[in-house]
């Protein structure tokens, strides 16, 4: 996936569970798992919500890697 993220690290630093983050963002826990495994790139709206829930800016949470294979 060309979109990388630091959700797992940021969530661990805040001692937040996947379910807690999912509840705050309004998605399923399975979607958080898929994002953390770089298997799913969320919409811009969800990406902003994730960053907001983790208390960071969106570019701290998500990065675009054009060399990565989709």
């Amino acid at each position: 996936m060309p979109i990388r993220n630091q959700i797992r690290e940021l969530r661990a630093a805040r001692e937040m569970t996947q379910q807690e983050l999912a509840d705050q963002v309004g998605v399923t826990r399975q979607t958080i798992i898929a994002m953390e495994q770089d298997k799913y790139s969320p919409s811009l709206e969800t990406a902003f919500k994730v960053a907001l829930a983790l208390g960071v800016t969106i570019d701290r949470c998500f990065q675009f890697d054009p060399r990565a294979r989709r």
């Binding site: 999912a22 309004g26 998605v27 399923t28 826990r29 399975q30 979607t31 798992i33 898929a34 495994q37 298997k39 799913y40 969320p42 919409s43 969800t46």
Partner: protein
């Protein structure tokens, strides 16, 4: 393996209902009356209502998000492509048989055969849709 979400559980329930109802009808060659087709349709509706109601009662977290909707669309696309392909093949074969004069239109079972064939196409497309969605969930998308 990630735990199943509510949507994923409903898909497994749908697949189970489809296989339980359609299986005996199509694979045990029981398609010999219109009443059986009607019975099968009623059966799948009743079984789906029972399974989906039980799941809705047993599942606390019933959130559906953008990924669920994306996977649903992917399933419908696969189902549409399947039914469109089967229709083209089916209509092509029908045309070939008609052109060769091998279409026994005077046979009174002909209507039932057509009903079974077209209903079978719908069933294959529906199962393709459900399986595509389940595979998409297992692959994360």
């Amino acid at each position: 393996m990630a735990p199943l979400s509510y949507r994923e559980k409903t898909l497994y329930a749908s697949l189970l209902a489809e296989l339980v109802i359609y299986g005996p009808y199509f694979f045990l060659h029981r398609q010999n009356s219109v009443n059986k087709v009607a019975g099968m349709i009623a059966g799948i509706i009743i079984l789906q209502i029972l399974l989906q109601t039980a799941l809705a009662i047993l599942t606390r977290n019933r959130v559906i998000d953008e990924r669920d909707r994306l996977i649903e669309l992917r399933g419908y696309r696969a189902g549409y492509l399947t039914i469109a392909t089967l229709m083209v093949i089916g209509l092509g074969l029908l045309w070939l048989h008609a052109a060769a004069g091998r279409l026994p239109v005077e046979n009174r079972m002909m209507g039932l055969h057509f009903l079974s064939v077209f209903f079978g196409m719908l069933v294959i497309a529906d199962i393709t849709k459900t399986v595509t969605q389940i595979v998409s969930y297992r692959k994360a998308l």
